[in-house]
Amino acid sequence: MAGRIGPVARVAGGAAAVLVAALTLGTLVAVAMRAEDAPQLGPADFAAIRFTMLQATLSALFSVALAIPVARALARRSFPGRGLLVTLLGAPFILPVIVAVLGLLAVFGRNGLISQGLMLLGFEPVHIYGLHGVVLAHVFFNLPLATRLILQGWLAIPAERFRLAASLGLSPRDVARTLEWPMLRAVLPGAALVIFLICTTSFAVALALGGGPRGTTVELAIYQAFRFEFDLGSAALLSLIQFAICATAALAVWWVDLPAGFGGGLGRVTERWAISGPGLRALDALAIGLAALFLLTPLAMIVAEGIPRLADLPASVISATGRSFAVALSAAVLTIVLALSLATLALGTRGWKTGAVEALAVLSIAVSPLVIGTGLFLVIYPFADPISLALPITALVNALMSLPFAYRALAPALAEAETVHGRLADSLGMRGWARLKHLILPRLMRPLGFAAGLAAALSMGDLGVIALFANPEQATLPMEMYGLMASFRMEQASSAALLLLVCSMGLFWVFDRGGRVRAAT
């Protein structure tokens, strides 16, 4: 029965709630206390704030604007490979940022495909570093997300409306005005805000593609204050600013009623009339073709350039891979434990307490990893050497960042299992561990596999808080790969990127697939 949970579950849920609160709100307090004795904001800090807002705004606008024709084409055209393409649109979410950056460099960089083509024709090569490079990378990551969100809106328009429009002889332009534009007006602000929020915490992209003082995000400035100047006061002050930006954007997202981005049901195509003109067909083909080219070419370059040297990767890359697996698997386990504990606690409480637990579970969306990292450093520093704890801290912060997604996958499934089978379990006296083992875990296999895969893949590819703490002996695979890039050993970096890509996607696939197979029995 909902409202009655065992003492162990209550303790576990309470402990998870305290841990999450300490990591998000507690680290923020630590940061705020330290920021008091910080120097005034300098011109470089203001430049970082301006750059953060500017690149996030541009990234959101470009992603959403370019996604509209792609989503429209996917909503009304059925073609071989459409399902695969829609699935691929979900892939950038777990694609390691640093891998994508290397792929983009291979296409748009100084020695990339486009520059080489231009030079053959006698033009200057393009420059990717700076604002346009950062925005390009963000569009690469968020165009697919925007496309999925907008496609969802398109498919939510009832097919009967289009039939009615056809029977009344409405032209594509009329249909756009009466049916599609109102939908876009409802969906676009939410999609743009989500992408804005994601881009405000951008670290790895800015680290790799931002150029110097005029291409620094707040998140990157925290890292620089911390790592290069060891100015904890400035790092703390910047962390507060970062939190303010994120929290404002997150509140706005909350307020505009975010469309659900991970829903399925994108497989069908709404039947439409009066769209078979050659002009419209060519337009849709162009939108889909260009989008696929933009998204797939960088990945194809990673594979093509990574394969030749894959066999002779340096030993440091191999050992970094081992560390990354350890961190990723720990983060996955931790994410699942936290999400299940909180979901159970939410089910066993009522009223405002339930709301508080749910809010806590998704709170880390509004907190940036480097802010948590800075706070943790400030808390741990007086007692122990945070550098020696780099890997456990990375796993912990990674788990926290995956928690909102894991919670959203697990909580509804847990509630359903309890609603359908809870009484039977109660009547048989199944409690505690027996209930978890014989009822909850078997019923939750599918979302458990998905959530664990997501957490493991995100952690495997993460280049964030690890950069703040670790020294080269503790480097994870993304960090090792970035090190190779920074020292211009591009061939080895490409091979490491391919390895990282395979590891991240492989981890997700193994867990997600495992959950599905077990759930099927």
Binding site: V420, H421, G429, R431, H438
Partner: protein, 232 residues
């Protein structure tokens, strides 16, 4: 003996009262209009709902605050009596150990009880591979193994055809005879009540009335039961 003492269940829009006792070994049908509170009555006895007033007593012992799994009873619901991810044997085995730690001896008893309900050799099947009647048989095999002195049945065979329902009622009576259990069975169908024999608790107008002999009740039904049964 089951006693409901000054019981009042408050579900906001609707209140159910009961003040009655059921003698040991009785087979009582619980009948009445839908929405009158038949299932609510069973939920209170089983411990899923706490009464606003009054007590549920078994052999003079107050069951208030006792968890459903600890009460001296087994319950069979209308559906979801089996966990779909567990084998038939495990579903029955839960009746012996809620953590499924089963000895070889326990496994043998599970097999025996399955044989008793006519499901010989079906231990390894999953619920999805069974028919509606077979699902009910598995649930009854578990009731048999749990061997609790009170058996609650909440319209367990509503989805089955008439012939199958008759078979199941016979099986219920056999199980009750073997375990010596008192039976409370909610049903929509007066024929089921008569086939069960024994007594009937009429639930109507917010009150669960004390049990009376079923044949006598249907021979001379009170007005509320007449309205429910309709013209013959």
């Amino acid at each position: 003996m089951l006693q409901l003492e000054g019981l009042k269940v408050d579900l906001g829009a609707f209140v159910l009262r009961a003040d009655l006792s059921v003698a040991p070994g009785t087979r009582a049908a619980v009948v009445g209009p839908s929405g009158a509170g038949k299932s609510t009555l069973l939920s209170v006895v089983a411990g899923f709902l706490a009464p606003a007033e009054g007590r549920v007593l078994w052999d003079g012992r107050d069951l208030s605050g006792q968890e459903p799994g600890k009460r001296p009873l087994s319950i069979v619901f209308q559906d979801n009596n089996l966990f779909p991810h567990l084998s038939v044997a495990d579903n029955v085995g839960l009746g012996l150990s809620p953590s499924l730690r089963l000895s070889k001896d326990d496994r043998a008893r599970v097999a025996q009880s399955l044989e008793r309900v006519g499901l010989h050799g079906m231990e390894r099947r999953r619920p999805a591979e069974l028919s509606g009647g077979q699902l009910s048989r598995v649930a009854l095999a578990r009731v048999l193994l749990r061997s609790r002195p009170l058996m609650l049945l909440d319209e367990p065979f509503a989805a089955l055809g008439p012939a199958m329902r008759g078979e199941m009622l016979e099986l219920v009576q056999d199980v009750a005879a073997e375990t010596g259990a008192t039976v409370l069975m909610v049903t929509h169908d007066p024929r089921d009540a008569r086939r069960l024999g024994g007594q009937t608790i009429l639930v109507a107008e917010g009150v669960a009335r004390p049990p009376v002999a079923t044949e006598a009740l249907f021979a001379d039904p009170p007005a509320v039961l007449r309205d429910y049964l309709g013209p013959d």
